[in-house]
């Protein structure tokens, strides 16, 4: 942190406060045990977030000294909610009524979902400490609100520093997909004992490329100043590059465009932020990661890909099957093909009326009423080992789908869940 331009512009009085907050946060985050295979949220992450802010500053975002100080302090404390003792929280809040209070995944979920709000606890508990450092009550309040804004908070309902610095912090946090947050040595040594979700996250970080100004962070000045982040990945197999690029881009794009961070940054600093996937800068390396990728994508179980635009409605149908198979979902044909290229799908269960993801036109898909049938044909050609079942609620003519050779089954919704389970088990046995 101390080598950054951001740090260098902070005045001496503020530096002493920042150093104390930084050291305290690093110690707390680095030395408090929490969940075994969370990606690192300690000093490394803080350094990366500050470094990402620094990149944006070097690219043209101009901060005042006050802004730099509050933003850097907030970056230090933004994840402290991860290590706040939960003894004061009701078990109902934590376990949401589930009858297994010993189940750590519920606590993990609570912390993942609400750690930004738990910042309040830190500020309350350490209020005296912060005051002694020289922060006023209103400073503490601003710090708390900026840190809280690093996720979920509706930025348009916040004001002043909280709004613009919260936006910048949220982006810098989301951009930290650096390999340093998930050391390769730990991943390689321990992936077998990791759950598939942790394995997926660690691999995601491992195959991502660090941000470097002039390399994959490009600044353009004409007509308006634009900072373009070019995502590049290096997974063990070439065929999975598009999948990983999509997975990495999605959360950053969500923060930028859906949550209004891009708008806030443009409003405050007149700088446009863009995120793009770069196939050209991506490559496949590290054959030793193949089994890890396999586990991350399939949990080393038989893999079912459900392609349905109303996937949430389908989740309960697969509840029983989840115990035996690894089940992933796609809502359109493009996403499904990316997943098929990345993972060895054993059974693709396709709905007929799905979006194509802009890869096919209305005329190619009978006005999108038979996108699923076109997808089935593609899977049959490109992935002959993948079995295909159709499960559709369509009331349109299904002759084209029925005429497909090689379908494992063609079922219409609604179907009795037990009959459906038997059908799937039979196909995969």
């Amino acid at each position: 942190m101390k080598t950054t331009k951001l740090y260098s512009m902070i005045i001496k009085k503020h530096k002493s406060i920042l150093d104390a907050v930084y050291n305290y946060s690093c110690e707390l985050l680095d030395h408090t045990p929490r969940f075994q295979y969370f990606t690192l949220h300690g000093s490394k992450h803080i350094d990366n977030v500050v470094s990402n802010i620094d990149i944006m500053m070097n690219a043209g975002i101009e901060l005042t000294e006050d802004q730099a100080f509050f933003l850097t302090c907030s970056a230090c404390i933004h994840d402290l909610g991860m290590v706040i003792p939960l003894k004061d929280y009701l078990s109902n809040d934590i376990f949401q009524g589930r009858p297994q209070p010993a189940e750590p995944t519920n606590v993990e979920k609570l912390i993942r979902d609400y750690h930004h709000e738990l910042i309040y606890s830190y500020i309350e508990n350490k209020f005296d400490f912060l005051m002694k450092l020289g922060l006023s009550p209103s400073d503490c309040s601003i710090l708390r609100d900026i840190a809280k804004s690093h996720r979920r908070v509706n930025l348009s309902e916040t004001f002043g520093f909280v709004r613009c610095l919260g936006a910048l912090l949220r982006l810098a946090d989301e951009l930290d997909i650096s390999p340093s947050r998930a050391p390769a040595s730990v991943l390689i040594d321990h992936y077998e004992e990791m759950d598939s979700t942790s394995c997926w996250h660690w691999l995601k970080h491992n195959i991502s490329e660090d941000w470097r100004l002039g390399h994959n962070v490009i600044v353009q000045s004409n007509p308006t100043k634009t900072v373009k982040f070019l995502l590049a990945v290096h997974p063990p197999r070439k065929s999975s590059i598009p999948y990983w690029l999509t997975q990495l881009r999605r959360p950053i794009a969500r923060v930028l465009f859906d949550e209004g961070v891009s708008r806030e940054i443009a409003r405050q600093w007149n700088v446009s932020i863009e995120i793009e996937s770069s196939q050209d800068m991506s490559s496949c390396v590290g054959q030793e990661l193949i089994p890890i990728e396999q586990k991350a994508l399939s949990a080393n179980r038989k893999l079912i890909l459900v392609i349905d635009d109303e996937s949430r409605k389908m989740e309960d149908l697969f509840l029983v099957l989840m115990g035996k198979y690894h089940i992933i979902y796609s809502s359109n044909a493009k996403d499904a093909l990316e997943k098929l290229a990345a993972a060895p799908v054993d059974l693709a269960i396709v709905d007929l009326q799905i979006g194509s993801g802009f890869i096919w036109s209305a005329s190619e898909t009978h006005d999108f009423k038979l996108t699923g049938a076109v997808l089935c044909k593609t899977i049959l050609e490109k992935y002959p080992k993948t079995k295909i079942g159709i499960l559709t609620g369509s009331r349109h003519d299904l002759a084209e789908a029925e005429s497909l050779d090689g379908l494992a089954f063609l079922l219409r919704k609604p179907i009795n869940p037990e009959d459906f389970e038997k059908e799937v088990i039979n196909v995969l046995s």
Binding site: E259, L317, I354, P417
Partner: protein, 398 residues
């Protein structure tokens, strides 16, 4: 009515080239007038290349490809030079050469005439081929009006057929939606009854199943309004708009959660009373919210609120999504209209939702609006305003 202004303004229509009836009419017309051949072109510049021609005396295949474009371009130019109605004199060698470029006409008599014809909403160009075109001028004028009349009748038939097609599509889509909902309901109940989900979570699942049933009921309820040609306010009464919003949010919550969309309400703490068919207004508002969920950006938010404005109550649904194109603004309220983006973003639809909203709102003496924010085009607002008081009933009494 036939007027040259219309003839020069292409309108959007479906292709009619495969319609056997119009083919029959034209053939009859040609025989009656001892013409060798005719081409009836349905005109639509916006969809150039999709619509094509009814051909008599030519091979079955329509004019397609660049050569057709050249012919079309030529005829448009002619129409600009000689506004309709105009019977062009024979021996237009340049027209003939364009036609000849499309088809080998070496065995044909090279005498031609063409004239634009138009009905109230469609424009056609009738190209005739004859050995004695000049002497037939008067007859052609007369017969042409017959063709226009026939075309007008055909248009009405076409419109009815179109409506029936859309309605069939709608019913099929409802079948699809209900099948999906029933699947979700029985899967939830099955998981509970087999003991895979227990305790509080089981109660949540049962509640979700109940909501899904209500959602299915809403679909069927809306169908009633859509298909009833005499729909008007049946159960008018004063109600609080905030309660309608709250129920709408409750109904749409699970669909919003599926796309990680936050439904935001609560701008007014005071009641907002308005007169109308509460159930229908809720149905209209729900349609807006469902559309916003379907076509808005995932992981974003939707603002839903009502406000009083000039003795009207305005219901507003605002989301982050694709900007509304000017070209779509008028068309989107029409029966069966579906934009290309709509088809891609959400394939299960029939283009009836907004039509039904408009029908409900108009029955209340109100208006519907849709627009993108001027600063940020991605902020999309759909609203409708209805009179605060019971002016409709008062008007009926008067």
């Amino acid at each position: 009515m036939f007027c040259h202004e219309n003839a020069l303004k292409p309108s959007i229509t479906d292709p009619i080239s495969v319609d056997p009836f119009i083919r029959y009419v034209l053939n009859d017309f040609l025989l009656e007038n001892e013409l060798q051949a005719g081409i009836l072109c349905e005109w639509n510049e916006d969809r150039c290349g999709i619509d094509y021609v009814v051909i008599e005396g030519f091979p079955e295949s329509p004019f397609i490809g660049s050569r057709q474009e050249s012919l079309k371009h030529f005829i448009v130019q002619c129409l600009e030079c000689y506004p309709a109605p105009h019977l062009h004199s024979a021996m237009r060698s340049d027209l003939w050469s364009e036609i000849a470029a499309v088809h080998d006409l070496s065995s044909w008599q090279s005498k031609t005439a063409f004239l634009p014809v138009s009905s109230s909403t469609r424009n056609y160009v009738l190209i005739l081929f004859s050995e004695s075109t000049i002497s037939m001028k008067e007859q052609l004028y007369c017969s042409c009006s017959e063709v226009v009349e026939t075309i007008s009748q055909l248009r009405d038939m076409h419109s009815i057929k179109h409506k029936l097609r859309v309605m069939e599509l709608y019913v099929r889509e409802i079948g699809h939606d209900i099948a999906s909902s029933v699947q979700a309901i029985i899967s939830k109940l099955n998981a509970v009854s087999r003991g895979y989900i227990t305790g509080r979570l089981a109660n949540e699942k049962i509640k979700e199943a109940e909501e899904e049933i209500m959602s299915t009921y809403r679909i069927a309820d809306t169908l009633g309004i859509t298909v009833d040609p005499d729909y008007n306010i049946g159960n008018g009464k004063e109600f609080d708009a905030r309660e309608v919003i709250a129920r709408t949010v409750s109904l749409c919550k699970s669909e919003a959660e599926e796309r990680h969309i936050d439904l935001r309400t609560g701008r007014s703490t005071a009641p907002i009373f308005v007169w109308g068919d509460e159930k229908a207004i809720q149905s209209a508002l729900t349609q807006y919210v469902i559309n916003a969920i379907k076509y808005g950006k995932g992981s974003s938010y939707i603002n839903i609120y009502a406000r009083k404005k000039d003795k009207q109550v305005e219901f507003i649904v605002q989301d982050i999504g694709e900007p509304i194109e000017d070209i779509d603004k008028a068309a989107m309220w029409e029966f069966g209209w579906r934009g290309d983006r709509a088809k891609e973003y959400h394939v299960n639809g029939s283009g009836i939702g907004l039509f039904t909203v408009k029908k409900i709102v108009q029955a209340h003496g109100g208006i519907c609006e849709a627009y993108s924010d001027e600063e940020n085009k991605h902020i999309v607002t759909f609203s409708f305003s209805i009179p605060e008081k019971d002016i409709i009933r008062k008007m009926q009494l008067l």
